[in-house]
Symmetry: C2
Subunit: 346 residues, 2 copies
Amino acid sequence: MAAKAPTIIDVAKAAGVSKSTAARVLAGLPNISDTARERVRAAAVAIGYERNTLAAGMRSGRSGLLGLVIPDISNPFWAEVARGAQDRAAAADLSLMVMSSDWDPATEARHIQALRRARVDGAVINPVSDQVGDLPGAGTPVVLIGSAAEAFAGIPSVGSDIHHAVTLGMDFLVSKGHDMPSLILGPPSRLARTRFLNVVRRHCIARDRDPGDLAIESADYTVRGGRAAMHRLLARRTVGHGCVFAANDMMALGALMALHEAGVNCPRDVSVLGFDGSPIGACSAPQLTTIAKPAREIAARAVSMLIDRIDRGTACAIEELRVHLPGRLVERASVADLSAAVRRRA
Amino acid sequence: MAAKAPTIIDVAKAAGVSKSTAARVLAGLPNISDTARERVRAAAVAIGYERNTLAAGMRSGRSGLLGLVIPDISNPFWAEVARGAQDRAAAADLSLMVMSSDWDPATEARHIQALRRARVDGAVINPVSDQVGDLPGAGTPVVLIGSAAEAFAGIPSVGSDIHHAVTLGMDFLVSKGHDMPSLILGPPSRLARTRFLNVVRRHCIARDRDPGDLAIESADYTVRGGRAAMHRLLARRTVGHGCVFAANDMMALGALMALHEAGVNCPRDVSVLGFDGSPIGACSAPQLTTIAKPAREIAARAVSMLIDRIDRGTACAIEELRVHLPGRLVERASVADLSAAVRRRA
DNA sequence: GTGAAAGCGCTAACAG
DNA sequence: CTGTTAGCGCTTTCAC
C-alpha cells in the first residue's frame, strides 16, 4: 500500500518555503520570485504532488464538478450528448458526472440529489419529469436541454428548435409526395410528445387535413417499443400507412424491424422518417432518413452556458438564455420518393 | 440568489443540539436518545439540509466517487458497460465519473489524472495504452476491464474470456460450413488485437490451415473504419471472402454497409460475424450475428470487485482476481448456413 | 515577495 | 447519551 498522497505541505517542505508560497505558485498567481517558483514547481513534480480538488473546492466553494443527467446513456443520441458535454467540460478543466435517469422521475430525483450532495458547481439536465420542484440544489446553476426544457420558467435552456425540426420533416414528406404520416410518439405523459404532435397537427391544419385522422401509437423511446408500436400500427387496417414519422431514431429503427418482420418493404410500401440523427441510423437497412439534431453542439453549448452562469452569476436576462439550434435533414434511404413515381407514371 | 446551502451546524442549531449529536443522527449511529434523533431529523428536513459529501470525504478519506474510463462512450457496447457500472455504483450509494478516452493514450492519461485529482476512491479502467506507468494514483484501487487487462501484472481484472469467445465464433463458422474467415481487426498496436488474432491462428493450425493465408485488415473500432476495411478486403481479389469475422460490432456494421455499397449480398455471398453483442446489431440488415460479451455484468462485477478492494484493502490474492465471463453466440442473420446449402444440393 | 493564521463542513477522538 | 476539540488539504485574508 502506497503512502498517503502528498499534500501541498509536503511540497512546501521539500521546496523550503511556506505553505502559502507553494499554494501561490501552484495556483499560478503573480508576485512570486522566480527562484521560489522554480523550486516549488520542481518539488511538486519530484514528489508527485497532485492537487486535491476536493479540499480546494471546500475552501473556494467550487468543486470543479459538473453534472449531466440524461434519460438513457445507451441511446446513441444521448451518448453523443454525453460526449459533447464531456469534451466541453474537460476543455474547461472540469469533471463531468454523467447519470442516466432511465426516463424515470424517481431515478432522476435520486441522481439530482447525488449531484447536490457532491456539490457540483452546476448541472445540465434533460428533465424527465415535466413538473419538477427543486431541480437544482437551490442556488446551483442549471441549464436544461431537450424539447421540454422551455416549460421551466426561469431556467435557461438549449435544445433543438423542435418546431423547425418537425416542420422540416413534414415538409420533406410532402415534397416526396406523402400525405399525413402515421406517428410513433413517446410516452403520453411527456411534454416533448405534445409539442411534437402539435407541430404535426398544425401542419395538417395548414394543409386542410383533419388532425383527428392521424394514426398515433406511443412507445418508450426504445427500439423494442418502436417495433411493437409499428406492429400495432400495421394491425390498424383502416388507416393507410404510406409513411411513418417516429419521434426518435431508436423507435424508427424498431419500426424498420417490425416492417421487415411483417414482410412489408421499406421504403417501397411504407416509408419511415426518424428524428434525432443517431449515427447508428446509417447502419440500418434501409438506411434511416432522419431529422438530425446537433447533439454535440447542444451539449457543448449547454455546458458553455452553464460555465458562464457559474462564473458570472445569474446575471443575464433569461430571454437571452433560450438557445435553439436548428435540426437538419439527413436523407438516406427509408423514405420513398412518391412524387418521382407519380411523375414517371404520367 | 439562494442563500448558501445549510450545514450540519444549521441543523444542530435548529434542533437545539450540538454539532456532533446532529452528525451522529445523520450518520445513523447508535446511542442517541429518541427525542434527539427525532428533533434532528425534523430539523434537517425542515431546513433542507443535504450532506456535503466533499467535506465528509475530506475528513473520512473517502470521496464517495468512483471513476470509469472507457474508450468510446458513443459505442453502444461501451455505453452498456457504463450503464452497468453506473447502476452498481448507485446501488452502493457511490457516484460514478465516466470518461471516454477515445482510444487515445494521452486522453486516457488526462482522464486518469482528473480522477486522481478528484480523489476517487477507486477506478475501473479499460486500458488503451498497453504499457501504462502509473495507471492509478499510487494506492488507489483499480480494476481493469477488457481483453488487454491481464497484461497488467498485479492489477485485478474482469473481462470476457476472449479465447473462449473467439473460439465460439470460429467453431460456429465451421459448423455453418465456412472455412477461414477474413479478419477485420483493431489497430495494430493494441494488445487485444494480438490476442484475438492468435486465437484465430491457433484455430487455423488445429484445422491444418496456414495462418499466413488469413486476409487481415485493420481499422479503428468504428463503423467508418470497418466499412473502409471491408472495401479494402473486397479489393483483394486473390482471396475468397466467404466470410468475415470482425473484432467488434461497430466494424462489423461498417462491413455490412460496405458490402451493401459494393452490391454484394450478405449473407448469400459474404457472411459477417461480429464481436461484442451490441444491442444495435439487431437493427442492421441483415441482422448481425455476433458473439455477445456480457457488458453490464462485466461492468457490475468490476465495480463490485472495486468496492470490495476499497473496503477490505488489497487483501485477497491477485490470482483470484482475474474474472472471466463467458461470451455467448447470438445467431441472427448475417452468417449463411453453407452446410445446409451443401446438404440440399446432395 | 513571503509567512502566519483562519477557516470551508464534516468526522472522529476525547471527555463529561 | 452528549458536548468539546481537533484536524482533513486547501485557499485566502492579513500582516510583515
